[in-house]
Symmetry: C2
Subunit: 508 residues, 2 copies
């Protein structure tokens, strides 16, 4: 099914509706807001088979993966709704009056977070549910109290349309006005630009390419009123293989990574794209084992022809660089008659070929092209001359969503300066594991120094993602009866509040 | 005394020193960091008479005001240091492992805030202590664990130099390396640009003009790695005079405002520059009383010739607009022989003349020049035809640091839509008070929608200002012994942490 791009007047109308209904939604009782978000989750569950079937057709992702993704999406909606209901994002601070203070009395001041206003969310291509129409950004913005305008990803527009219908039905069933949620189709890049540039928009959530995310960030910074843009643009997620751990566990680690590199055809923003170690018998053992495993893994269709073409081009460009050796190539696709099928490129057969390449530390340092993400089931092993060179590479890496340390505790202590450097360049640091698999928990940080994301101070996964869409307002000397519920003496919601410097969930 | 501008190589060297010593300062024990900041406060107190004398000469501000400002600066340093020691800015989240979870175990994940890196702070002209060298931005960044590079405000360079010496001595007395603090002179605007553009800088704090703050914001957004800029650029701080309250208290409110408009020669970013009410006998009573009071107040020297000149020009431009009536002018300056002294302009006698003007709501709406801040002891009374026009003006105002409601509780309920609109445009909302006088407490919000500040999600006053200079990092499956102290099971610091969804200050 194809959808027509929204027109500029349609976008303008959606924005005005959102801005108008913002006041209603902002002041909605937290219980009804939670109920609305739970209703979206129930709606997704009630339609899961149809949604998954549609997404399978549009994205080539598998049944189990997509079913799991819907479950994750529902968990996000419900857990963020519950976190907001508990008021954890409100950051309430109360300092009561000191009428006898000299030289002047201290007024009563009470502060809490309030929603920013209408938020534009761009559906991502690699998570048709969890980071699209009813995904993490939408769930965070709705939990914060912001109306949402979603731009459907054109590669799964029908899935998006079906999810949008479920959201609208949940809104209507809970008596919410129309402007709380809008769904816009826009294959043309200008539609995205028009959305971000609209004066009534107050924030933007985006998951996708560096060029796309950066373009939106630039547009937003150049507005008359600049607004925050949370672009999650991916990274190469370096994995540091330290000598002690590799000595005992090279084969085991290789097994973890053959799975992690090729999971969902490598189409995760946390895909491990760089593996770094010191030239040694252990590193060779690791490389040999990983090559063996990856060579046995099948090629598989990628999300859409654009992504497949980009993978084919970037993979080819990387493999053809001076000093880059191809260590392993997965099983190539075949036609039903057994002949070799065409690969990648012009959208003929959108295949992601598992690929492991290798280069030296010196070569990597000298060639900026090798620092770029190759989005797909690809990883580059960087064989360094010594740990000094590993450190040098670490110092030259750009900001990352994740970094991983494959290490013994002794390795960590022996190379504390490397560990410190690695932490400086990422948002999440994993000890003896893989970066793929992003838990949706309060402790998750999914976001990192630029260019992993445009704002390292926030996360796009976990309930703290709600904080992207709020700002503080202080009320000075307000009569108790006129304060927002969360700031009243009674504290009927039982919120945790910092009252005169002490935490309390009691009344004042 | 005059100081030479720093050279580009000197700036580069300071940045490298800061970036290098960042690791030391970041990992410093919280107790030593607190001790360092307390030592700065003690150093300021030990030198208070000399500091105040120097600042009096450089800024024309009075002895009591400046002495009070040093006390405030010391309170900021100590209270932010104590807040950071208590770990309130760390936002610790811990989700412990669920090894038996199906289909896959859940890893242990622990998240906390870590400092961003070197921060550039621009000294402000109107607060030579509290928002300059050892002021709020510096205190927040140091509390966060970030090295600070201060650019002295050229209008009080000697005060800045003396404060910088106290900071460096406190650093040295606490064994801190040189790069924790640097002090740069730079009268030339290019010095500011070079600081913000330097690749090793991670964030910027600025208090000053809209043009200056916006220029730094734009520079930072255009960097290869964009960084956050917290520019606090001031606002007109509208005061809404609602009918019920004005009926009973017109004279009392006029008295509050004659003081607030002229406090420190009107040189506060929270100065009430717009007073809005509905044409009525009460409003006329208020205007008459306020005019009478302001006409008795003396003109006084402003901070420096540049500010005096800007005030003279903007005041003149506003007063000469069509439909603007001058209601009151304060007592003009006289020479020692009693003759009229020259006023404003070319730095001859930098005098700020208390001024009250008046216009209609329609005229205000039609003339954008009247929306601009006139930085000084000036306010514009907007006489609206009815409350509908007050609302229209409110809807057309730009983002504000503060808004004030002069109202009875009945007024607030009767005009709930106006109150809602007013809240949407500001960071702090005051009930029956004045916006000047910004308490340094956790509940303070000093920051508002653009163009009041460049980022409404943060405050530059109160301990939450520390959050401007941190970002979250998650540690996945880390051995307890290798975690940062704040995330260890033991919780030796007794921090409040969200552990598996529940708040706790205990060990795990």
């Amino acid at each position: 099914m194809t959808y027509t791009d929204a027109t500029i007047p349609e976008i303008d109308q959606a924005m005005h509706q959102a801005a108008q209904d913002f006041y209603y939604y902002k002041n909605l009782s937290p219980a009804v807001r939670r109920q609305f978000m739970h209703a979206i989750a129930s709606g997704l569950e009630a339609n899961i088979e149809d949604l998954v079937a549609t997404a399978m057709e549009e994205t080539h992702l598998g049944y189990d993966r997509l079913k799991g993704e819907v479950a994750r999406t529902c968990w996000q909606l419900r857990s963020y709704a519950d976190a907001a209901f508990a008021g954890r994002h409100l950051d309430i601070r109360i300092d009561t009056a000191l009428p006898d203070r000299k030289p002047a009395p201290r007024p009563d001041i009470r502060k809490m977070m309030v929603p920013l206003g209408p938020v534009v969310v761009f559906g991502s291509s690699n998570f048709p549910f969890a980071y699209s129409t009813a995904g993490g950004d939408t769930a965070c913005a709705l939990a914060a109290g912001c109306p949402v305008i979603v731009k459907a990803h054109p590669a799964h527009a029908e899935t998006s349309e079906k999810v949008a219908k479920i959201i609208s039905e949940a809104a209507s069933a809970n008596g919410l006005p129309k402007g709380v949620f809008a769904h816009i189709h826009g294959a043309d890049f200008d539609i995205g630009g028009a959305l971000v540039s609209h004066p009534l928009v107050k924030a933007v959530g985006f998951t996708g390419s560096t060029s796309g995310g950066k373009a939106l960030f630039d547009l937003a910074a150049q507005r008359k009123e600049p607004i925050p843009v949370f672009s999650e643009m991916g990274s190469t997620n370096p994995v540091f293989l330290l000598p002690g751990k590799l000595k005992t566990s090279a084969k085991e680690v290789a097994k973890w990574y053959s799975g992690s590199i090729t999971l969902s055809v490598g189409q995760f923003c946390t895909n491990p794209g760089l593996l770094l170690g010191v030239a040694s018998a252990e590193l060779t053992e690791f490389a040999t084992e990983l090559s063996k495993l990856m060579a046995q893994l099948p090629s598989a269709p990628m999300l859409h022809p654009g992504i497949a073409k980009a993978y084919a081009q970037k993979r080819e460009a990387a493999l053809s660089q001076k000093g880059v050796e191809t260590l392993a190539v997965g099983v190539l696709p075949v036609n039903s008659d057994g002949s070799a099928a065409p690969v990648g490129g012009s959208g003929v057969a959108a295949e992601g070929i598992p690929t492991l390449a290798k280069t030296s530390g010196a070569n990597f340092l000298a060639n900026p092209l090798l620092h770029q993400e190759v989005f797909g089931p690809y990883s580059l092993l960087i064989e360094c001359a010594d740990l000094g060179e590993v450190k040098e590479v670490a110092a030259h890496l750009e900001g990352q969503l994740t970094s991983t340390l494959i290490a013994t505790e002794a390795d960590m202590l022996d190379h504390a300066d490397l560990v410190a450097l690695v932490q400086e360049h990422c948002g999440r640091i994993i000890f003896n594991g893989v970066p793929t698999g992003v838990e949706v928990v309060a402790s998750m940080q999914h976001g990192g120094p630029y260019p992993a994301t445009t704002d390292s101070r926030f996360t796009s996964v976990g309930e703290d993602g709600i904080r992207r869409f709020v700002r503080p307002v202080a009320f000075q000397n307000y009569p108790n009866a006129l304060l927002p519920e969360a700031l009243k003496n009674e504290n009927a919601g039982g919120y945790w509040r910092l009252v005169n410097g002490e935490w309390s969930n009691k009344a004042i």
